[in-house]
Structures are given as structure tokens and as C-alpha cells.
């Protein structure tokens, strides 16, 4: 998985080339950064519990703030870390105003296991303690179209939005947007261990949601 870091830093280099163009008022460069980041910004704003319209407002406000403070951006951080930090502030403000739950960096709260313990032999089993009691399908025979198209795609989106906000934030950045773990740790001020725990909890819950969907809808 070392390759992801390389991709991320290539992307960062390209972004840092766009910043001077933005400062000079290059509209094409602005269009490029808008196209690149806005879908992710909308998704993350939704993670703060905002509806579609409020998420668009927050994204718009973020870009306006970015333009207003562009002259002061000194490229000590990558452009996107800076951009998403501003987005986080705007979304948090809006979310608090609407009294929604706000992602926090800690790990407090629910720590339910990745897989329900009823699917394993109990710890006092003489021979099979902690082993699966059931088979687990690899999903390898399920074509991408079935997992990615139409209803499954919507269910997956819904399942992401239903996650606790701090799980969803890490998941969206890592697995949807392809950020490196280092970048996510910097943006959200997380230790690498906590970042990994949050990502794992998100993935395991989404896996369970997909499993339920696939089980309920046999091919």
C-alpha cells in the first residue's frame, strides 16, 4: 500500500503548481481545483450531518474564504490540507448552528467488534475458540456492476452517511478520496493508531451493511 503515498504526493505537487496561478487570477486553474475538490468537500460536509443544500452552502462559503485568504496561504501545508481544514471549520460552525453532532478526534464511544461475536465459537470452546462458525463469501463472484450500480451504490452512500461522523470522515478521506494516512492524521490531528482504528471501524460497518444488502437481495 506504499503506492498510495506516492500518488498523493504527486497530486500535491500538481496542486502546488496551481496555487500561484490562482493567486494571479487564472480562472481555468480555479475551475480545475473546484472540479477536483468540490465533490469530496460536499461528501465531507454531509458527514457533519448537513443536508444537501446546507452542504452546498458550506462548500461555497469555504471557497469564498479560500479566495479571501489565498494571499496569506504560505504553502507550509499542502493546498488540500489547508482547504479541508477551512471546510472543517465552516462545516462545524454550520453544524453547531443546526445542533447536529460534530466529528471529534477521540475514540470514545462504541467499540463494538468488527464482526458480531455470535459468528465465532466462544472463548471457552475446547477446540475452536475464536474460530468462525460460518463460511464467509469472498464476494469474488459478485461483478463490480452489481456492487457499484444503482441501488447498491445508493445504499453504500447511505451507509457512509449513517456512520458516526468521525468514522465517516476518515473513511471518506482515505478510501473514497485516496488520501494517505499521514495526510489524514495531519488534517484531523489524529495519531496513526487512532486513525487506523477509526478507518477499520468504518470499513467493518460498511462491510456489514453491504453483506446485509447482498444477503437480502440474492443474485
Amino acid at each position: 500500500m506504499g503506492g498510495e503515498g506516492v500518488v498523493a504526493s504527486d497530486a500535491n505537487r500538481e496542486e502546488s503548481r496551481l496555487v500561484p496561478a490562482l493567486k494571479l487570477g487564472d480562472e481555468a486553474a480555479f475551475g480545475q481545483v473546484v472540479d477536483r475538490f468540490t465533490p469530496a468537500m460536499l461528501r465531507l460536509a454531509r458527514v457533519y450531518g448537513l443536508g444537501a443544500d446546507a452542504a452546498e452552502d458550506v462548500v461555497q462559503e469555504t471557497w469564498l474564504r479560500v479566495l479571501r485568504s489565498l494571499d496569506r496561504f504560505e504553502e507550509r501545508s499542502s493546498f488540500r490540507t489547508w482547504l479541508f481544514a477551512i471546510l472543517g471549520n465552516c462545516a462545524r460552525g454550520r453544524s453547531e448552528a443546526e445542533r447536529r453532532s460534530v466529528p471529534v478526534a477521540g475514540l470514545e464511544g462504541d467499540a463494538s467488534p468488527a464482526v458480531d461475536e455470535s459468528r465465532f465459537f466462544p472463548a471457552d470452546h475446547p477446540r475452536w475458540a475464536g474460530m468462525w462458525t460460518t463460511l464467509v463469501d469472498s464476494w469474488e463472484t459478485i461483478p463490480d456492476e452489481r456492487l457499484l450500480a444503482g441501488e447498491a451504490r445508493e445504499r453504500f452512500r447511505d451507509a457512509i452517511e449513517a456512520l458516526p461522523a468521525r468514522y465517516a470522515t476518515v473513511f471518506v478521506l482515505r478510501d473514497v478520496e485516496g488520501w494517505s494516512s499521514d495526510e489524514v492524521c495531519v488534517l484531523l490531528d489524529l495519531s496513526p493508531e487512532n486513525q487506523r482504528v477509526l478507518l477499520h471501524r468504518a470499513r467493518t460497518r460498511l462491510r456489514a451493511a453491504l453483506e446485509q444488502y447482498l444477503g437480502a437481495d440474492p443474485a
Binding site: 465465532f120 474460530m131 460460518t134 464467509v136 451504490r153
Partner: protein
């Protein structure tokens, strides 16, 4: 509690992200891989979590809503010609 030198299936399912992120030390990694190589359900589970991660990557292909894009480009033009512009 989990035993990382001889993990059970229940331990394995908690270690998958650490494994995929390269966070396990060499002996833990070896124990993980050894378990998965002889355990079809854990192999299935590993492949499911990989799939969740790869399916998620395809969600990033969304477009920017046209109305929002237009309004952002307009804001950019205003910014450019406004008091902060040059």
C-alpha cells in the same frame, strides 16, 4: 485478548486494516498471512474489506453540480476584479 503471534479468526478480523496499511511488525505480519493462507473464511473476510475500500474509490468520480460550479466561477471573477484583485 488478542494474541498476535497466533491469532484466532476473531483476532484476524480486527487486524485487517492494520495489515493492509503495513502497520503490523514482521512477525505479526507473518502470523497474519500464515493464518489467512489456511483459513478460507478469513480469506473471504480480507477480500470483502478490500472490496469495500475499492468500491468506495469509485464514489469519488462524482461531478460538481453545475449550478454550484457556475456560482463559484462567478465568485472567482468578482474576487479577481474586486478590491483584492490586481
Amino acid at each position: 485478548m488478542s494474541d498476535r503471534s497466533a491469532p484466532s479468526c476473531q483476532d484476524i478480523v480486527e487486524l485487517v486494516t492494520e495489515y493492509l496499511d503495513g502497520g503490523l511488525d514482521p512477525s505479526e505480519r507473518l502470523a497474519f498471512e500464515r493464518h489467512v493462507s489456511i483459513c478460507p473464511p478469513c480469506r473471504g473476510y480480507l477480500s470483502q474489506l478490500r472490496r469495500v475500500s475499492s468500491v468506495a474509490g469509485t464514489l469519488s468520480e462524482d461531478d460538481v453540480p453545475e449550478r454550484l460550479r457556475e456560482s463559484l466561477l462567478k465568485a472567482f471573477r468578482d474576487w479577481k476584479t474586486g478590491p483584492k484583485g490586481r
